[in-house]
């Protein structure tokens, strides 16, 4: 059920948590969403590695209305080149006020998911288009090498 008006609620819930409880709580909410709700998805990424992670996002964006995304595996990393973010597009088309830090949900939710799967998450750009990278955490970086 990919009804784009649900983006209204994603934006509104983030605004409510931000305004009612503060940015720290909003970040905590996004991070916990990644760690708890998406636990099984992260586990699949950890098991299947970059090819599965890429396939997962490819399938995911196919089910997001009006998304334009190129997914690529680069070495052991996965790169999402999002030329049209479906959420921002729908919010803008519907003349909805977008929370300033809306795009940060990807940093914190995807970041938490990535971390649980052994990756770190990077984002360049935002508010309509961006590039997202899932980069394997090396043993050195984890401090266990």
């Amino acid at each position: 059920m990919s009804a784009p008006d649900f983006y209204f609620a994603v934006n509104a819930i983030a605004r409510h948590i931000h305004d009612e409880y503060g940015k720290d709580v909003l970040i905590d909410y996004w991070q916990n969403l990644g760690m708890e709700y998406y636990r099984e998805r992260s586990a699949r990424w950890a098991e299947g590695g970059a090819p599965l992670l890429a396939e997962d996002w490819q399938t995911y964006f196919l089910n997001e209305p009006n998304a334009q995304v190129a997914v690529a595996v680069e070495g052991k990393s996965v790169v999402l080149d999002i030329s049209v973010c479906p959420a921002i597009k729908h919010l803008r088309d519907s003349k909805r006020e977008i929370l300033d830090c809306f795009c940060e949900h990807c940093d914190h939710t995807c970041g938490a998911m990535a971390s649980a799967a052994g990756y770190r998450f990077e984002r360049e750009g935002g508010m309509g288009s961006c590039v997202q990278r899932f980069i394997p955490i090396t043993h050195e970086a984890k401090g266990v090498g």
Binding site: M1, S2, P4, F6, F8, V10, I13, A87, H105, C106
Partner: protein
Amino acid sequence: MLGCQDFCGYYDWTFHYIRRRFGQDAVAKLWAEAIAEDSQSHYIKAGGERGLRGLYDTWVKTGEEEQCDWTFTLDEQKNVLRMDMRVCPSKGFLLDNDRNADEDYCDHCMGWIGPALESIGAEVVSHEHNHCGQCWWEMGMKDTPHQPLDLDIDIRKDHRWGSGYVESWRHNTKLPLLEKSGSSDPCQVLIDWFAQYDRLLVLGRGPSTADKWSADQAHDGVVVTDPTYATRDVFEGDPVGVMIGDKPVSLDRFAERFNATPPEQRPLLMHMFLPGNPMIDFVGAGLPRPVPILPLLIRAGLYRHRPGQPYPTTGVFLLLLAVALQKEAAVAGIDLYRHPSGSPYLGQAPGSEDFRWPDWHSQACDTSHIRAAVGSAEKPVALHPILADLLA
């Protein structure tokens, strides 16, 4: 990104996050402010401009986008906007994907529609939902006489309506869940029912129910599972509560006994209503709808539903309930299918040594839930020595 395809799943999780961190009122505030006033502001705008007609048009558009199997009926002469939902895609997502993070996902609709209508001088005149994807609504403008509709497509005439537990609203107010309790909160209904019992005897169906330790346990109320109520296998007397399991056996015998019992002596019927299981038609079986236990267990932090993962056996759910109710308890008959006699249940012949747990249960799941519950219990919980040894 947070997409719209799985929104309903993390919507449910979000309610749980807000509820556990900031309390019950915070969830109501989220629904009223974030959802009604912000996310669904187009309903308020359309309803404010064109009344019930504006709401009707907006809902019809939503229904097309969300692929709702519903019928909206507008009768402006009678001041009625009615909706009969046959398959809710939102709750359906949770049922299909075995999700149940929060106490009551379905409450969110009333949580936003009530305040939204209020803001435009309208109200929810009547509403009921059965937590299985079926619901009905009648809405009207407050300042105009309202006449209810009698429709063939009334969801209450559909066989699916007999499943689940029904919560009801009249004029934006939630009604008591059970006649005997004045509370509309299923958690409080359970607390009220068991208030008169200080020490519960929790009986599973294992052979340990028949030994001296079990017979010696003082108690002022016994709780059992559905096969025991139907067959009196481990307890002959009248229990004060019965947990109807996810796969009940002998529901016809169960109903026969229940309905032959004077109303004032009947036990409280309870059920888990787990999302990944086929819903049981209790009404069709001639029984009242049981009271749900998951809301209380979730609120007490004793149960977290994990999609596709094993869940506790019915007897263990009874134990969790006793702890959630903060009762002293003695627990017998939960032998984890490891009773020295080799029998899985009292009166049954010993099985093979390699008893195989069904895919939806596991010893690890039962033991971890029992350990966590007993470890957090506010009152003493006495475990049968066989169970205590198995946990050691």
